[in-house]
Symmetry: C2
Subunit: 388 residues, 2 copies
């Protein structure tokens, strides 16, 4: 199988994009990726688009073909990939497979979501369908804030952690986001303010929850040989993309302080990359809620069970710490336009591995992204490395 690299990236600002459609956003990110690289549009051989609620909230079915047409990519194969909040990473994984297999040399990956313009209740209800809708918890009306509140309660109880420590995740996310001009929230928050946010689903407050965002991100994926032959500057190596599945409703989880799909995807990706978690210099993890960051870091094996809370409080996950986590601001501060999220995580890692990041981690050689869908029904862990 061939070596695969990332040859370019683009991202729109995340936040409210009242005047722009799903396709406008995806096209903007894609055009940025093309402009910022030496890949020409007529060299792109396939398009993979990650989007989740493009029709239900964004009003556009069949977005991959519409995007390909908008970009003037001719009649290349285009398709949309869906796996809830991991849709973007899954689109990337399909592109990597297409390039690895030799089917194509150059693929464009875009992730996009248009979520604003609806009430929070409508968005929350729509997203709640990323769950087995025949399950008891769905029938009982459990939403994602509610699900993660259950995980938080269990975590705090099981490890005797003070609820106030969750605020440290939010404070770090907002501090990082404040330096990211494309983040949804660009204002820092104090610990006191984070703790004073109104309750969303007890014990989670407003600052424990990622916002409803519009946005898109894009990557150009090429074979290493093609990149070398075409003089691509600063390519980033795709070392591994692990995917695993898990329970699709809360009542099927054996534990509320870990998501088995994330742990399995991490093992798979690290084994394929022949690395250990300690080799990772910077990580973007799926912090849709503050509690999710702790569980992510423990599923990855970066910290022991119950230890991520204290590691966060101690600053281990800040830029400059032992393992900088979500220097982009993460979903909490950068925002969470669902289909874009997995792709945007990789955009941040590429920037880190090219020394172009807003919150640059010094001498970052290996980056890891962790992207989860549903109640852990799918997880994708991607390992990128600075090109030799």
């Amino acid at each position: 199988m061939r070596r695969v690299e990332i040859a370019g990236y683009g991202q729109t600002p995340f936040g409210r994009a009242d005047e722009r459609s799903l396709i406008d956003l995806a096209a903007d990110a894609s055009e940025q990726a093309l402009r910022a690289s030496t890949v020409r549009p007529d060299e792109v051989e396939a398009l993979f688009l990650g989007t989740f609620v493009g029709l239900a909230l964004g009003g556009q079915a069949f977005p991959a073909a519409v995007l390909a047409a908008r970009l003037g990519l001719g009649g290349i194969p285009a398709l949309a990939v869906e796996g809830a909040c991991a849709s973007g990473s899954l689109a990337f994984r399909q592109a990597v497979a297409a390039v690895r297999s030799g089917a194509v040399d150059v693929a464009l990956v875009a992730g996009a979501e248009k979520m604003s313009g609806h009430t929070t209740a409508t968005v929350t209800r729509t997203l709640a369908a990323a769950n087995d809708t025949a399950s008891e918890s769905h029938a009982a009306g459990l939403t994602f804030p509610g699900f993660f509140a259950l995980l938080a309660r269990r975590y705090l109880h099981e490890y005797g952690v003070d609820r106030e420590l969750l605020a440290d995740v939010s404070v770090k996310a907002r501090a990082n986001g404040a330096a990211n001009p494309k983040a949804h929230f660009q204002t820092p928050v104090t610990r006191a303010a984070a703790l004073a946010g109104r309750t969303v689903a007890d014990p989670l407050g407003l600052y424990d929850c990622s916002p409803i965002s519009d946005g898109a991100a894009a990557l150009l994926v090429t074979s290493a040989d093609w990149a070398a032959a075409h003089g691509i500057e600063q390519p980033v190596d795709v070392r591994a993309v692990g995917q695993a599945g898990g329970p699709v409703s809360p009542e099927r989880l054996e534990s509320f302080v870990g998501l088995p799909a994330a742990a399995a995807a991490a093992r798979s990706a690290l084994a394929e990359a022949r690395l250990e978690i300690g080799d990772v210099d910077v990580a973007e993890v799926h912090d849709c809620f503050t509690i999710a960051e702790w569980i992510a870091l423990e599923d990855l094996g970066a910290f022991g069970r119950g230890e991520a809370a204290h590691a966060t409080a101690d600053g281990a996950t800040r830029v400059g710490g032992a393992l900088p986590v979500n220097p982009s601001g993460g979903l909490l501060s950068k925002g969470h336009p669902i289909g874009a999220t997995g792709v945007a995580q990789l955009v941040e890692l590429v920037r880190q591995l090219r020394d172009e990041a807003d919150n640059q981690v010094e001498r970052a050689e290996i980056g890891l992204a962790h992207n989860v869908g549903g109640t852990g029904g799918v997880a994708v862990v991607t390992v990128l490395g600075r090109a030799a």
Copy 2:
């Protein structure tokens, strides 16, 4: 690249499935495919699900993970693929790529849609989003019946064809469907009755339109080596899967009597299979409307422009004719549960190539499927062959 085969198939009845969910249907078809083959569930390494409006009409987001869980497939990689009415074929194409590349030996492909339980107006409006929703035609309210009515008007005008000849497509479809116990419509229709159907979008009447159906279909895709090593009986060869894109709104079509993506996908698939259209013994084409069957056959090169109408009238496309088309009943009679359609076309071809079909084409060696999404924004042409 490795040779790929189809090792098993399953299909639910198409029609109204009031009591069954999208997942119930997809699981039923998948379990049939597993039961009818010697592939064990724990040998399935990846799941590809084609579905289009699973959330908007079927009420289930994230269906691939939910289906994998329902089937007890463990934590295998699962994802949903969307490309409007070609979603099923695109899922199949991704599975074939995964097996060809060596990433997996065994993949399960399912296609499913749950569409009933809504008004016809809701369904028609939802499907109309499989179009550039920023286009003028969309803004003007053009639906798919309206679009295909425009194609029909143009075809009849350009080639001086009598509108009554469209009924021959419907009469053939219903005759074939009458012998297919899984078809939505299992009653033949006379030419007079077909012509007397109430107008849907002039010149298309009720019998010119495929129905709103629920249903699912599934295929097991394996490498040829794996199939041989595991004693798979009567595998069917995947000779080629061609995909191409095209205009995503009617105003961008250069001609209203051909869809360039379909012609390009056919050229690609036939070239890859090293065959000509004359080598095809049986075809399943995307007859979402009667007019679409003529245009499909001409895009494929099976008949010259303007000739498919007369060839149909002459019986060339009946079982026993020069090129039997839609012996399953096609979308018009078998039904069109959108995500299932492309997979069900292949199920019919597999049955033909294993001498198991309801309307068996004698000595069928090569089968071709033609599946189109939107206004020709995507097309997939698949060539299957009887195993040596």
